[in-house]
Amino acid sequence: MAENFEITDEMRAVIGIESDPWTHEVTTTSVRAFARGVGYTDPVYFDEAAAKAAGYRSLPCPPTYLGTPVFIPGKSNDTFSGPKATGPGVKHGLKNVLDGGTETEYFADICAGDTLEVAGKVSDLSVRESKTTGTMLIVTNESTYTNQDGVVVAVQRGQALFY
């Protein structure tokens, strides 16, 4: 639990600095794995014939699924599967993390066969008092997803709560 936590100028300095892009793959197998993990029964997310009959190029990404980051031991985060190199990062010294919220904006469809380049940045920092966890630092991360044709297909903003 954090007490007397304050956002420093050093923490604020990382806002807006973009990470190097990292590749996310969307494959028929990865779409099925995500849809199965959520518990979908809609055949459009599992059966290519059903997907094509519904008007898609191949299996579409279920909502909130934006491809699977390519995993490379040593370069990837072993817990969260994304790249270790996610930009400068906020040096706050808080040990625990919870997910605060997520927002995704879609600009075009994403289907199996697509390859997305994903660049992230810290877009905002704030603090919030919580009855159960004390002072929390809220870090808003924004990731931009660009497909193999150079089209920005989605932007996702996530809030991580550190305490």
Partner: protein, 139 residues
């Protein structure tokens, strides 16, 4: 049947979706979504011990809200924006009821749009994961 713009009105409720993921389902979600935080599968993990249980991934609930909307659309339109906030923790094997209502529908720039208000109610009826969506519908 794919959803059409004329088939619903403001105030309509989406068909509810019930979910009670157990540890095995959360492990499947971890594999599909890539979040292997032990807080979502390992009862011996210090943060799980401190909380008294593992907890459902916030992102699982977010994805389940996506499933709710996807089921309703039945590919008759697409999601333009989907968001939620993780206000409360949900525990495995506890039933969650996901639902939503049509807050607004309108036409703009040749698009037929609707805004949805979404919820994930726990067994006690508390909305742990309020959300919203904007969808675009075909004619």
């Amino acid at each position: 049947m794919p959803l059409t713009y004329d088939s619903f009105k403001e105030g309509d409720a989406l068909p509810e979706l019930k979910k009670a993921p157990g540890v095995t389902q959360l492990v499947k979600y971890a594999a599909g979504g890539g979040d292997f935080n032990p807080l979502h599968h390992d009862f011996a993990f210090p943060q799980s011990k401190a909380l008294g249980s593992i907890i459902i991934h916030g992102r699982f609930k977010y994805a389940a809200l996506g499933e709710l909307v996807s089921n309703w659309l039945d590919h008759g339109g697409r999601i333009k924006k989907l968001s939620c906030q993780y206000r409360g923790m949900d525990l495995p094997d506890n039933e969650m009821t996901l639902g939503g209502t049509v807050k607004r529908k309108w036409e703009e720039g040749g698009e037929r749009l609707a805004e949805l208000e979404l919820y994930v109610n726990n067994a006690k009826g508390k909305n742990t994961t309020p959300g919203s969506a904007i969808i675009s519908l075909e004619a």
